[in-house]
């Protein structure tokens, strides 16, 4: 730390050697700088403020349709429109600037220069709520009159432009709306088509009057179980009827009424009456013969044969009857049993019912299976259906909204043509009488500082270029030989007085510099005017 301080002090002392060149340079720089500052021309500024309700034309139309006009965009458009080439050429003519520009490049340069000096800013939030922006137009120049002329021109142009722009804007908005409507219409049709197609593809699954899907499935399952119950009942009835039929003879016995049908010997009775009668006769005869004769009697044998024959015939007849042979039945001359017939009919009916129920059940089970299968699909389908419906509804709502807007726009446009434009010049073009720039005293102070620093820098630089030995440390650092020691400086009266004189002179030079600086600041206005008039006279 100490060494650093020593080093710094050593450097300062070595730069001190060249203090006079530092002072001289400071003087030169300051004088030149101050005169130069006087030469800088004054800048005047004119500005005007204009309030334009540009958004009344646009905003309501576009509200809610996700196209908010960007304030910055508006400003950019305004600036582009206002600072276009034809406008600027007009401005240049107004201030006689174009007299100097002959070649196209010069003209371009002039226009560019103008453009750079014109400032248009917008302040959309200043005190006015909602629609409208405040635009400020400023222009800087060396002549005050010029600034006023330019700003005046620009304001006039602005007014004219904005009015036409507004009209254009409303037309643009309407065109935009119409385009939007066409778009939405198209989308509406598409949505409708999609909905119809969907309904077509998912027939039966679309939840309609049948109600909710799960309800349907449950209904079906209930129906199936009901049918199965009915089937069980029918089958019981069937078996009951079969049993009944089995126990009832098909045919009535001759002479027998219906009431005596319920006898187990229906089958034997079912045989033909004649054969049975003959058999009985034969058997009776046989009994008789046997009373009188033996088995060997030919009559007895013949009777026995007859009996056998009759028995066989009986059996055959019974068989035929049992098999339902109508000839046999007719031959037997039996009467159908009405009870039997009734039971038979009932049985047939039950059987038909069973078949129908079975069919119903299997059908129903199929339906249930299908409904189960569609468990995953149906909700999605329902959701998809709901979505499509919603899309369609939204699009339709949009469409109707747009149509309403368009109507409103048409109406408002007509209303505007009667003259309800909002445009106001808040501040007319005005310019201060004082120049806004440059701030000469400040610049001069800057020059003074710069001059002094330049002087110091030069002194230090000279020291660096031709270094000397300030201390024993320097000697040891630079020279390889050992140092015996140092002899301190001896101040004789002569040298001391010389030094004092020297320092006084230095101080005097610096003080004089500061005095000149003070004078310069005090007189800067006059000086500047003098210089400007000289320049003006020579230009």
């Amino acid at each position: 730390m100490n060494t650093a301080l020593e080093n710094a002090l050593s450097e300062l002392r070595s730069a001190w050697r060249f203090r006079w060149s530092a002072v001289a340079l400071a003087w030169v720089v300051c004088i030149v700088g101050w005169v130069g500052v006087l030469f800088i021309p004054d800048q005047y500024k004119a500005s005007a403020r204009v309030f334009v309700d540009t958004e009344t034309a646009l905003q309501p139309l576009l509200k809610g349709l996700a196209l908010e006009p960007d304030v910055d965009n508006q400003l950019r458009l305004v600036r582009q429109a206002l600072l276009s080439r034809p406008h600027l050429e007009q401005v240049a003519r107004a201030i006689d600037l174009d007299a100097q520009a002959t070649t196209p490049e010069q003209k371009d340069a002039m226009i560019d220069g103008l453009r750079r000096r014109i400032w248009i800013t917008s302040d959309a939030s200043r005190g006015y709520e909602g629609a409208g922006s405040l635009y400020e137009i400023t222009f800087t120049d060396t002549k005050r009159e010029t600034t006023l002329i330019v700003v005046d021109e620009l304001v006039d142009t602005f007014v004219a432009d904005t009015l036409s722009a507004k009209r254009e804007g409303s037309e643009t908005a309407q065109r935009f709306l119409e385009q939007q409507i066409a778009d939405v219409e198209r989308r509406l049709v598409e949505a409708e088509n999609r909905l119809a197609e969907f309904k077509r593809e998912n027939v039966g699954l679309v939840p309609g009057e049948q109600g909710d899907y799960f309800q349907r499935l449950q209904g079906m399952m209930e129906a199936v179980s009901k049918a199965e119950a009915r089937l069980a009942i029918a089958m019981r009835r069937e078996s009951e009827l079969i049993r009944q039929l089995n126990s009832t003879s098909q045919y009535l016995q001759p002479g027998e009424s219906q009431a005596s049908v319920e006898d187990g010997n229906a089958s034997s009775r079912g045989a033909s009456n004649s054969t049975t009668a003959q058999l009985l006769e034969a058997q009776a005869l046989l009994d008789d013969l046997l009373l009188r004769f033996t088995d060997k009697h030919p009559v007895v044998i013949a009777t026995r044969e007859q009996i056998d024959r009759l028995t066989t015939r009986q059996k055959q007849e019974i068989k035929a009857l049992e098999s339902g042979d109508p000839v046999a039945i007719a031959a037997a001359g039996l009467q159908r049993n009405p009870l039997y017939q009734e039971s038979q009919l009932a049985l047939n009916r039950v059987r038909v019912e069973i078949a129908a129920l079975r069919g119903e059940i299997s059908d129903g089970k199929d339906r249930v299976a299908e409904l189960q299968r569609l468990v995953n699909e149906a909700p999605e389908v329902e959701a998809e259906f709901a979505r499509l419906n919603r899309d369609y509804d939204v699009t339709r709502a949009n469409y109707s909204q747009l149509v309403t807007r368009l109507e409103k726009a048409r109406i408002s446009e007509e209303a505007e043509e009667t003259g309800s434009v909002v445009f106001e010049v808040i501040d007319p073009p005005s310019a201060r009488f004082d120049p806004i720039a440059p701030h000469r005293p400040l610049l001069m102070a800057g020059v003074l500082l710069f001059g002094i620093s330049a002087g110091c820098a030069v002194a230090y630089l000279r020291h660096l270029l031709k270094p000397v030995f300030m201390s024993v440390r320097d000697v040891r650092r630079v020279v390889g030989y050992p140092v015996l020691g140092a002899i301190s400086s001896s101040w004789t009266e002569k040298t001391r007085s010389v030094l004092v004189r020297n320092n006084l002179a230095l101080g005097g030079a610096l003080a004089l510099l500061l005095a000149v600086f003070g004078a310069a600041i005090v007189l800067e206005e006059h000086g500047a005017r003098l210089v400007q008039s000289l320049l003006g006279a020579s230009a």
């Binding site: 270094p467 030995f469 630079v478 050992p482 140092v483 140092a486 001896s490 004789t492």
Partner: protein, 301 residues
């Protein structure tokens, strides 16, 4: 010291009475030289030559000596400066330097304080008990020393160098400072600078030194960069004290001058007119010249 000097001056006012006062008044003689061994009076230069009055006030006025207020400080500084030089001569704790008795005081350019340094160094060394100093003004271009002492017209170094007949005793002038004698520059001639480099010069210098065994010859030489002869002179001495004026001489100039010197000698630097604080910065006595001594011996053989 000044009181004694004043006393001496009073006593030794007239040149002719020197020897008499010496012999006749032992107190006056013994006071300034309390520790010197007594020598046969005939052989002492003071018998032959009148003592030169050392113009202290004039020198102070001219700036060769520091102002009264700084006398002690400067004396301290020179005491420090002379120590290593004497150590080199005596060979105490360092290797003995060949021809160490011959000390040349020079610088890069003129105006750096060679004469100041040589005068002060000679004065300081003259107080050494074991040595006696002969201060030789070899600055043929600007013989400030001779002028200061009022000896510029007297017979001096150049005369002896030119003419072998001039006895050495004739050119050595004693002063009223005990232990200090002066050799003025002598008559300036055209070939003065060439004479500096000649062998005759070397012989003269050796004769000067051998007048007394423990004589230290301090040479106030011309600046190095002025003539090449000064560089030649540097090879005739054993030790070189290079004076650098602080805050003035550019570093490069100093380095150029040092390059010219014969670096087989024991070269050391003295920084002149250094601002006070720096003067008390510690510095070492390191020499590193011991290694060069062998080279010196070889070159001398």
């Amino acid at each position: 010291m000044s009181r004694l000097q004043r006393a001496l001056r009073k006593i030794q006012g007239k040149p002719g009475e020197t020897s008499g006062s010496r012999v006749g008044e032992p107190e006056a003689v013994k006071v300034p030289e309390p520790h010197r061994r007594a020598l046969p009076p005939v052989r002492r230069p003071e018998d032959v030559m009148p003592a030169v009055v050392f113009p202290f006030d004039k020198m102070r006025a001219e700036g060769l000596l520091g102002p009264q207020s700084q006398t002690r400080m400067i004396a301290d500084q020179f005491r420090r400066i002379k120590r290593p030089l004497i150590a080199n001569i005596a060979g105490k704790r360092v290797a003995k330097v060949a021809d160490g008795n011959f000390i040349m005081v020079t610088s890069a350019v003129s105006g750096e304080g060679k004469t100041v340094t040589s005068v002060n160094l000679a004065l300081s060394m003259s107080r050494e008990q074991d040595y006696r100093v002969v201060l030789v003004d070899a600055d043929v271009a600007k013989p400030l020393l001779s002028r200061m002492l009022g000896l510029e017209s007297k017979v001096g170094l150049l005369d002896a160098a030119r003419d072998d007949q001039v006895p050495t005793s004739k050119i050595i002038y004693p002063t009223d400072v005990p232990g200090l004698s002066v050799v003025p520059v002598g008559e300036q001639i055209q070939t003065a600078t060439e004479l500096l480099a000649s062998d005759q010069m070397e012989r003269v210098l050796r004769r000067i030194q051998s007048e007394y065994k423990s004589n230290i010859v301090v040479l106030d030489s011309p600046p190095m960069l002025l003539t090449t002869e000064a560089a030649a002179l540097s090879s005739k001495v054993g030790q070189i004290v290079f004076v650098v004026m602080a805050e003035q001489t550019p570093q490069q100039t100093v380095l150029d001058a040092l390059a010219v010197l014969d670096d087989s000698r024991a070269i050391s630097i003295v920084l002149n007119q250094c601002s006070e604080a720096d003067a008390y910065v510690s510095y070492g006595y390191g020499y590193g010249q011991g290694a060069d001594d062998e080279a010196v011996q070889k070159s001398m053989d």
